[in-house]
Symmetry: C2
Subunit: 192 residues, 2 copies
């Protein structure tokens, strides 16, 4: 039986995924088409242009990561537990698949200026999600709206950068990074 258009699309995205993981930023439309066993124009019929394909690919992984982060954000056990769980969820995700993670970061940065704003980058969406989490945080009830927003994007960038550094220092245990980041977030650095 012939696959539906949505199944087809999913298959193409999986092929693109394999190429991105294998080739990194050298993943070209030709390579992806070959991996899927077809030729270029079909890709363009499905995704419009390269940016469209990359967006669809990024949305997949971003959505999946956001699901995990949302779950961590409502962990029981108080603010400290939720903080640790969220940081740990992020680090686990990038540890499982660094290549995809690098792809997401790169896509966010390389997007054309005129598309900026329409399509939100990866870290920005992470920040939005955190902002919602902070506003819903019981122990932070009544927090200033702007403060929550700035903090959220700050924390998103902080976890991302620390995670990026950590990927290049695998000798450091994940738990240590989680500990240090959580401590900084919760207590600040004025206490040592």
């Amino acid at each position: 039986m012939a696959p539906s258009v949505v199944e087809r699309r999913a298959g193409l995205l999986e092929a693109a995924d394999r190429v991105v993981q294998r080739e990194g930023s050298a993943a070209s439309m030709n390579l992806i088409a070959a991996e899927a066993g077809i030729t270029k124009p079909i890709l363009y019929r499905h995704f419009g242009d390269k940016s469209g394909l990359y967006r669809a690919l990024a949305a997949r992984h971003t959505d999946e990561l956001l699901v995990r982060l949302r779950a961590a954000l409502v962990t029981r056990g108080g603010l400290a537990a939720r903080t640790r769980a969220t940081v740990a969820a992020y680090l686990s995700a990038i540890e499982e698949n660094p290549q995809i993670y690098r792809f997401l970061i790169q896509r966010a940065a390389v997007e054309e200026p005129d598309v900026r704003g329409e399509v939100e980058g990866f870290v920005r969406r992470f920040g939005d999600e955190l902002a919602a989490g902070i506003r819903n945080e019981p122990s932070l009830a009544g927090i200033d709206e702007l403060r929550a927003t700035v903090w959220a994007h700050a924390i998103a960038g902080m976890v991302q950068a620390a995670g990026d550094w950590w990927l290049d220092h695998p000798e450091v245990p994940r738990a240590t990074v989680v500990d240090e980041l959580s401590a900084l977030l919760i207590e600040g650095f004025d206490l040592g």
Copy 2:
């Protein structure tokens, strides 16, 4: 009198700078060469390849920014004052020239995998500088080495991401962002 090779190089970099500021990521070798009043092969003789030119260009601005950050890191008046000064220095720099700042971020992300490690990205260098600042911080004397490193890269990413968000929300005063980031860094978010 004929310009020396280093003067020549500087002139080429200035031309490249203008093109990057004007064209953003569409700055091609042909455009840059035209802006400098010469043709492509000369650029290649001076910088090897496009990545080399971009690296030279990035190093220029990164170095300049690091000078300002280093100065802020030794501001008198205690830890809080130094924190505010450093954050403010970063935000001022990206506000003065968002196009160049975006170029630096993008370069860091898009660098080929096999070059990673050899050439440090922009945020990573910022993190290294912060790490040194934290280790030299009197009020944090005796801080654990690993903790200082993780915190430094975390703070670098935090300021970068918040700054990036701020560039898209110019209605928020810089002082507000500085306040919120400094508060989060110094006291953490457990106090409101």
